[in-house]
Symmetry: C2
Subunit: 407 residues, 2 copies
């Protein structure tokens, strides 16, 4: 086959998807260490089983699928009304945001939505992306040919980076070049830090003044412990005219294995709302009915309480990691309103800053603990390391004990 028929931009992507690279490294270590007792605080995957309310809702939905009168075939591509309404009632009304259920598009994952949304925009649109951040925003734009080529420090030439580091208290400045699409992530993956109301207002005002659009990833909003911090971009004045919000049940309710998320495209963004609807109707066929009933169940009184208990459990683990590392003399960020701890790696004895991928290898070989190298999330993540609070609490204790003793 003639390779000229292929999309040339895939060749601009870094070697492989970050988490695939890490999975491969772990596999290799295991192959050469038969008795390895690896503790994984790497990938952001949950470990607590689904709550009883969700389990019983799923059984009920499965039973409906067994009978002619209650069987469901194709559902609406946008999601069932029962779920769209439950989301508005459960997530937005309590935060003072009066959303139209017709603005909520249910999907099988935020990764899909956040990667697909760029299809709605022109090829030459200029984008701004936090650094460090979840790699999908960048990768999906690289694939679409929107980013230019990678430079020596690992930045793409046509992308504006919003550095989010300890130096600016993880509150990025406005883009210096004109941009039309701005990705924001709060609580941030990987730093676990939250964008303040002031920072968000600044970005919303910029977008409204400059005809730009904000793509706001709030996949971890349920971990915010301080009620005064913004959970949704729509708590910010003017955001309904310039922002799309991505949310997921993956981390909220442990749905990584059963797949459900949603994206809010306000009807105020008339043409974009119509385009996303068209995109979903043409390229997507809705989420499993069983999964949608599962998601609905977290908004019952009992389901909500059970969900909060699971979240509290993870946050207890986050506090443990934060406290233990701090007690060891390390500097850490995050872990207070997010399940991620952003660990600043100390300089080596010779004064040199250890690379985060080298630290990955060292942590694996000395402690058999897996985390995620910060540089995997962008050049500003170099010198940092991400640990997650999604692992088993007792196992995480063991991991921290090993770090304390062996590192």
């Amino acid at each position: 086959m003639n390779e000229q028929i292929l999309n040339p931009y895939y060749d601009r992507l870094p070697g492989s998807y970050l988490f695939s690279t890490i999975a491969k490294k772990i596999k290799e270590y295991q192959a050469s260490h038969e008795d390895a007792d690896i503790i994984r605080l790497g990938i952001g995957d949950v470990t607590t089983p689904l709550i009883p309310q969700v389990i019983s809702a799923m059984h009920k939905a499965v039973d409906e699928m067994a009978l002619k009168d209650s069987f469901r075939g194709y559902g609406p591509e946008q999601g069932y009304d029962f779920l769209r309404e439950a989301i508005v009632r459960g997530e937005y009304i309590p935060r003072g945001v009066n959303l139209d259920p017709g603005d909520v598009f249910v999907s099988d994952g935020s990764k899909c939505d956040v990667a697909n949304i760029q299809e709605l925009f022109a090829e030459g649109v200029k984008i701004a992306i936090p650094d460090p951040v979840y790699p999908v925003y960048l990768d999906s734009n690289v694939m679409a040919g929107r980013t230019g080529v990678i430079d020596s420090i690992g930045h793409f030439t046509e992308v504006t980076y919003l550095s989010s580091t300890a130096e600016n208290n993880f509150q990025p400045d406005l883009p210096k070049n004109p941009v039309q699409l701005i990705y924001l992530c709060s609580p941030n993956n990987p730093t676990g830090t939250v964008l303040s109301r002031e920072t968000l207002q600044k970005f919303v005002d910029y977008a409204n003044a400059n005809g730009a659009l904000i793509l706001f990833d709030g996949a971890y909003n349920c971990y915010i412990q301080d009620e005064n911090l913004p959970h949704s971009i729509y708590e910010i004045e003017g955001a309904e005219n310039c922002a799309i919000e991505f949310r997921s049940f993956s981390k909220t309710a442990g749905f990584t294995g059963i797949r459900c998320a949603y994206t809010v495209v306000p009807h105020q963004l008339q043409k974009i709302h119509a385009m996303w609807n068209r995109r979903q109707c043409t390229k997507f066929n809705g989420v499993s009915y069983v999964t949608q009933r599962a998601a609905e169940a977290i908004y019952t009184a009992a389901g909500w309480q059970e969900t909060q208990n699971v979240i509290s459990g993870y946050m207890k683990t986050a506090a443990l990691i934060r406290n233990e590392l701090t007690a060891c003399g390390y500097t850490v960020f995050g872990g207070e309103h997010a399940p991620y701890i952003w660990w600043k790696l100390p300089k080596l004895a010779n004064g040199v800053q250890e690379k985060s991928f080298d630290f990955f290898d060292r942590l694996l070989s000395t402690c058999e603990v897996v985390g995620t190298p910060g540089s995997g999330f962008g050049p500003c993540g170099e010198g940092y390391f991400r640990l997650t609070a999604f692992g088993d609490h007792e196992q995480t204790k063991v991991a921290l004990q090993r770090i304390k003793e062996r590192l």
Copy 2:
């Protein structure tokens, strides 16, 4: 917001997605006819509940998700090995096709895969599409800016159409212009006709000789009753070097509401295999574990038998439609190896060919029966009408009685 930042190609799409237009027409009819007793033989949605083997596999999987030791989080983006292996064992080995399970990519729907696959190709690639055919092949390429603009007969200027009509016995000729991507659909949606071994060999030879790629949609293969007809493109010599195949559990096992499909990208297509893998890892997060266990269950001995019984039921309905319309003096195609009947509309009393959308309205108002206008699948579908055999058998009988008496 500045509309110049939007993808300009969405504006080239026909007004709305075909099935949304139809749903709207039905809704309007119902609003003005309170007592309407509409029988839907329109959208290709199944009505028979999930088989017992699938139901019990789903309950078992849901129970696993309730316990810490058996809970599953993120699965492989490509699908679990248990399902990829079951597909090869259940679908391909019996047809003499020796496929590598690593070439099977499990997804949440063929619509998604068939729409997303074009992302792997260069913007300027020339495509060939059957006419008439399932609208997603065309629409996804329109959105990507690959088709040029629509002309007065409804063809896009940069697309090569492979007309599939009674005149050529629904066996399209090779493209006259050079093309690099060729969509084929067999059994065809909407005509219900099957591409012969000779036709497929001709296309495979063309692709191999010209460095082109075939995108083969076999979503309805399980309805083929004649074992000598090809079910898979990989039954054709040389296809593993030039073809991708799309398959779905939607119509095979009634999964339209629980979402599972798969796409075969042979490892022989080295770079395309790697690109699709990268695309799925970056923009997709796998299919619900519960759904994958459901799909696996159809390949047990009992599950396979139950599945065949459901298919036989639909084919009994297809035969009913075919026979009754034929008895009324109409000419029909399909319905022998597919759940679709392609009804040639007779000329009106004045000798004029009735438009298929006009016939839709007339059938709805005189018989309260819904079908799909042929022109919705391409200009060559004008003058035809699609009925599906997925409806309730007894209801379909009533619909045919009404057609006989009232039309």
